[in-house]
Amino acid sequence: VIGTEEASLLESGGSAVVGTVDADLLPDSTRAWGVQVNGDRLRLLLPAASTRSVANLRAGGPVALTVTEVLHLRSVQVKGRAVAVEEPTPDDLRRSERYRTEFFQAVHDADGSDVTLLQRMAPDALVAVECTIEAAFDQTPGPGAGRQL
């Protein structure tokens, strides 16, 4: 479904946001704090405190992930469905730590934000979510946003 360029962007230190929906069609949004692409699967690291999104995914609900380069705004969205919600592994925690460093540095480089303050955004605890990848879209801002890849 996605090529190496899209996979690279998804795993980068870009701004990573997640959309889920419950059975009553109420959407919820949160951030991902680490993304791993394994073929047609995604492993997302989400804040454990994002209780609505985590519950939506525990129910096997659909998921959307958009990752945007902080400086150039190149952006890709993938959609799929959750297949498992798990405790994060030591590898997951290292990936999340690497992601935070890269994301906060990218924001700092873009607008001078204080990295120490940015760290306030980070969650205290994570859950790992295994998802399928069923479709991908170019989400770069402009009239072409939403074009299926």
Binding site: V17, G19, S50
Partner: protein
């Protein structure tokens, strides 16, 4: 209780917001927004520039989840919003139009972004979501 006026800094456009919507068949969509506009204590407005997936979803299913970031301290706020009305002229439309023109000028994209309408949403829930 947090009021919209308490988080006014989140609406200055410094940090992009996030919006999650869902189509009538329950497929979510999530994207960044350059700016969300504060209308009054109960309402926010979004600029409708293209007939984007976000706007198509909101036409089918009027509720959305917004996350706004305070650019001074990086606290996050999650808002559940529900579509209320569309304005195609008037002070709010003019405010959003001028904002889009300014962003287009800054990014060298004059003529690409054209405001179709100012869409007004009622805020049904507002919560602190730092770290969540």
């Amino acid at each position: 209780v947090i009021r919209l006026r308490d988080i006014a800094r989140c609406f200055d456009g410094t940090v992009p917001a996030t919006i999650a919507t869902a189509s009538a068949d329950g497929t979510p969509n999530v994207t960044h927004l350059s700016r969300v506009h504060l209308v009054d204590d109960d309402h926010v407005a979004l600029s409708n520039q293209f007939f984007s997936k976000t706007m198509r979803n909101l036409a089918e299913n009027p509720r959305a989840s917004l996350v706004l970031i305070d650019p001074h301290v990086f606290d996050a706020y999650r808002l559940t919003i529900e579509y209320e009305r569309t304005e195609k002229r008037g002070p709010l439309f003019d405010r959003l139009h001028h904002d889009i023109e300014a962003i287009a000028a800054l990014t060298g994209m004059q003529g690409v972004f054209k405001l179709r309408s100012a869409d007004v949403y009622r805020v049904v829930e507002l919560e602190l979501a730092t770290g969540a």
